[in-house]
Amino acid sequence: MVAPPGREELGPLDLLVVQATPFCNLDCRYCYLPERSLTEQMAPDVLDALFRWVFASSLVRTPFTVAWHAGEPMVLRPEFYAAAFEAAARHNVEQVPVVHSFQTNATLIDQAWCDFIKTHRVHIGVSVDGPAFLNDRHRLTRRGAGTHRRVMRGVARLQENGIPFHVISVLTREALDYPDELYEFYVDHGIEHVGFNVEEIEGPHRESSLSVDDAPTRFRRFMARFLELARGGPAPLWVREEESMTRAILAGEPDAVVWTQENTAFAIVSVDWKGNISTFSPELLGLRHERYGDFTLGNVRSDSFESILGSPRFAALRRDIAEGVERCRKTCPYFRFCGGGAPVNKLAENGSFASTETLFCRLTRQSMLDVVLDEIQPSPSEHKWLPA
């Protein structure tokens, strides 16, 4: 078993991903959720069992975040979450700080939601891919119509209510041609915190528009230009990837002990609407693979944390993911700034957890590090992104 030296192998719990419902009112072209048409929701007894399980495990040792995700959280009404937050508080006898978080498409935000968010100080992230001409290529209703107008109506409601939020935008191949337009969109709408996801190959989404040879070059050109605008602009604009990579540069001494959530067993715990539990990459929950079957390790109603630790499936996952991290450590110069990639991307792209480089890491780790290094220390190598 390979584990980062000096670090506990299990947890602590950092992120609890809860699928209150698998349903999403949208049908984005790049979505990885296989059951997004199911209108089921987590039952009250499962909610109660979930938080009982979490706080009875030995995983809660530090503050953590509950991300209500893997379906659009706001298709359920605030009353559902009021009961859920109450269940969480009831079982949290040691009063460990817990933050509840929604990543939402914002199309369903109304005043009742705003009141709830303010009362419970819910951490809000809005998914929007920039201006309408980019957003409406991929983020569609179930009838295939664009969603931008509805999303921005929700954003306006948040702002009218003084609710802080961040934005996550998915970068597709075409979006990489529009750093100026994306920047102007965020500034024009008073958006100050932006995270960029890349269009990934995951689950049922088997192809990415970024699976092309020139994607890293285009990605670097995009990020360099975007950060240049953000640095020089009149309004504050923080970019998650820049912050993350700066942190990695500061930490990346040769002997630094590094870790990632997705490669550490039970740093992330994912629970679906039926109470099924998984760990490592949250996207694994609900997927199937010929080698592993599914990635469910147990259920909050019937399986204790200790019994899951003894399961052969968990042992296989843990072994193969650790082997993949070790291969990254031995073969990739970026390891000390990355920590070994993301298991779900390795499985989707390489067919095995025990593997190394993926499109995801070429873009978000390798290329991003190169861009941030050039931001901090401009060097002649910067010119390779300019037209020859």
Partner: protein, 112 residues
């Protein structure tokens, strides 16, 4: 068209900086310009990557206070979903050090 103009402006600005730094730098820049764009990772060898990172770290350390440099150890390098580096939270629910969000758009280390 605007992008092209912007690239040209940037190129001009950077070349001016390099000229001020010395002829050797200019030769390097010209060579890089003539080479085809890199397809894979831009930094070609581990040694050059580590050297660049060391230089960048030194620049960061210059502009950060001790308090800002104190971070968690072991260091978490990647963040899933809507988790943000440094435990940043919209509502400030967790106490967090000021780094790195206290930097307004990184003005600190460029000489211009």
């Amino acid at each position: 068209m605007d992008n092209e103009k912007s690239s040209r402006s940037r190129l001009k600005s950077t070349l001016l900086t390099l000229l001020q730094a010395g002829a050797g730098s200019l030769v390097l820049a010209t060579t890089a310009l003539m080479a085809p764009p890199a397809v894979t990772a831009a930094t070609s060898s581990p040694d050059s990557l580590f050297k660049r990172a060391e230089g960048a770290r030194a620049e960061l350390v210059k502009v950060l206070s001790d308090a800002e440099l104190t971070g968690e150890k072991p260091v978490r390098l990647a963040f899933w979903g809507n988790s943000w580096p440094n435990g940043w939270n919209n509502w400030g629910n967790f106490s967090r050090p000021s780094w790195p969000n206290s930097w307004p758009n990184w003005p600190n280390w460029r000489n211009s």
